[in-house]
Assembly symmetry: C2
DNA sequence: TTGAAAGCGCTAACAC
DNA sequence: GTGTTAGCGCTTTCAA
């Protein structure tokens, strides 16, 4: 990497002349500017980003902390984040908490040493269960902004991007009710997460609001340790009259579908299934799963936009919470 | 963020004293060291990473360029990269090429301005098809090391981490032959990629080496634009005697399995299917797909180890190509 | 044992 | 129109 200093030597002018010429300052004579630019191009000069960061106290990079990159939802959010960041001229430093609090706190602390201008993150499960918040406060105290998406900490005042989980679940359940389903099972294996609780509430509210239909909703909470597959099979065995399933996490809808297929159920005639997910799992199911679709990349994009706006605003701006739309995609596992 | 300078003022000593004390230099008196450390801790001092980078001309960060984060293989490699990087004290800046050459070249160029010490990457499809290499050479000329994994550029001399695609495909095919399959279809929708070519070669070599069995292998190349699903269905329609399928990309094995299921085939009695993939898609299939399993996270880990070794070695070291093991996981779609 | 000063690459206020 | 200088935060050589 060639530096300003070296260019200056080659050109027999001062460093600042080169700097100004390259930055289009009107102070420098046209001829000089041309000469400088030519040589700079010839030597493929590029300003050293580290020096700029030090000078400006701005790194133009965003720290992204994600609980689980193998979860397609988060991968897609990251996709959106990267795309929008690049557009805005920011780099992203990616850390994975793998759902553990210590890794999350550690990443925050490490990157808060001047490596990033701000954070975009979704909270690790462990953090959320144990309601840790001190590490967030530390960062915010240092005036480094945090934006939380999807899994957010209510106790922390910061920008947030969420999907309307309550409404999504409400609408999905309402659809099953309208189909005339009477014995609906709610499969919930993310009960410890805020989004899990919200979605469950939405389902129950839908049932309540449609009391007159006499539809029934039974919630099955499945722990992280138990095997989803066997759990769901015993569910079918115990409960022969199930005619509707709403699965509020990423994958149990697919598993329920496979289970129902194996038993020879006629889907969607005998039983309707709705999952929560992105489109990604669809090539894998037959018939194609109806889902509540999270617009995951939109979450990423919105997050970057909001954070960058804050980073680049001169005056302090109000904290915002943005809700991203979802859609109910009825495919082949519903009527 | 408190700086050395501010600490020095509070302590009434010079900046360099503070620096030395904190870095455990033996030059400084015990009492002073203790005093400095205490105050530093009280104010939660952390050295500014940007300043350190500028000083040392080392950023302790790795640029990671990935073709497609929504592809589970790459997500898992990234997982491995992140894990090992964190362990080694490196951050990763992630860029996504989304398979396009320009984005890839752009990311390389942008990060080569001092943002990263080296690169770990897998080549975009477009880059590989059009055999672009100039952008790699530019970077290497600047003495910034590149490590390529999985999809590598043969023409470029740099560290590489690959899986033995040839052997993997060879073994998988050999298994089908030993099962007595006579009419085996090779589904190849990544024919433009080096790995696709290698895997196909491996399959054919297996057939050749087992000529006496009279097993037949037909390669079906499927373009990116055509719909995999319909393509595979017409395949079944045209060819009634198929009794073995080997699908060498991430998802077509699953699609073939679904297709076969739909037609009421008895798997694996009538037909065996082997896919190439990570474990991730398995919850979605029934019966469980037998696969050639790429140890994707191991690829990431190995990549980081090799690159960091190079970055931190004083003397120049030889270029290496490391081959990561794969395994043939026979599950329920093979005998 | 401690401090002053230079320098990493850059920008910008100020001087000429 | 061009150059000098200070300073961003840090380490390190050299001087005291």
């Amino acid at each position: 990497m060639i530096t300003l200093k070296e260019l200056a030597e080659k050109l027999n002018v001062s460093i600042s002349t080169v700097s100004k010429a390259l930055n289009g300052s009107s102070e420098i004579g046209e001829a000089t500017v041309a000469r400088v630019k030519e040589v700079a191009k010839a030597y493929n000069y590029k300003p050293n980003r580290v020096a700029l960061s030090l000078k400006n106290s701005k790194t133009k990079t965003i720290g992204v902390i994600i609980p689980d990159i193998l979860n397609h939802f988060f991968a897609k959010v990251l996709y959106g984040i990267e795309k929008e960041s690049a557009k805005q001229g920011y780099n992203i430093i990616t850390c994975l908490s793998n759902e553990v609090f210590e890794k999350e706190a550690n990443s925050l602390e490490l990157l808060a040493n001047g490596s990033v201008d701000g954070f975009i993150m979704s909270i690790a499960q462990e953090t959320q269960i144990n309601k840790h918040t001190e590490h967030f406060k530390d960062i915010l105290d240092q005036k480094i902004p945090i934006l939380m998406f999807d899994r957010v900490a209510d106790a922390i005042a910061c920008d947030k991007v969420i999907i309307n989980d309550f409404k999504a679940a409400y609408n999905a359940t309402t659809h099953l009710i309208k189909e005339g389903r009477k014995n609906i099972i709610l499969i919930n294996n993310i009960d410890e997460l805020s989004v899990g609780k919200l979605r469950a509430k939405g389902c129950f509210k839908a049932i309540e609001d449609a009391k007159y239909t006499k539809s029934n909703l039974t919630e099955i909470k499945i722990g992280k340790t138990t095997d989803l597959e066997t759990e769901i099979e015993t569910l079918f065995n115990k409960n022969k009259t199930i005619d509707g399933i709403i699965a509020i996490d990423n994958i149990s809808g697919v598993i329920a579908l496979n289970s129902a297929n194996k038993r020879g159920c006629n889907i969607p005639k005998d039983i309707s299934i709705i999952g929560f997910s992105d489109d990604n799992v669809l090539p894998f199911t037959s018939p194609k799963l109806s889902t509540v679709t999270q617009h995951s990349d939109a979450i990423g994009e919105a997050s970057v936009k909001i954070l960058v706006k804050r980073l680049e605003s001169k005056e302090p701006i109000e904290i915002v919470t943005k809700t991203i739309d979802f859609s109910l995609n009825l495919r082949e596992t519903t009527l």
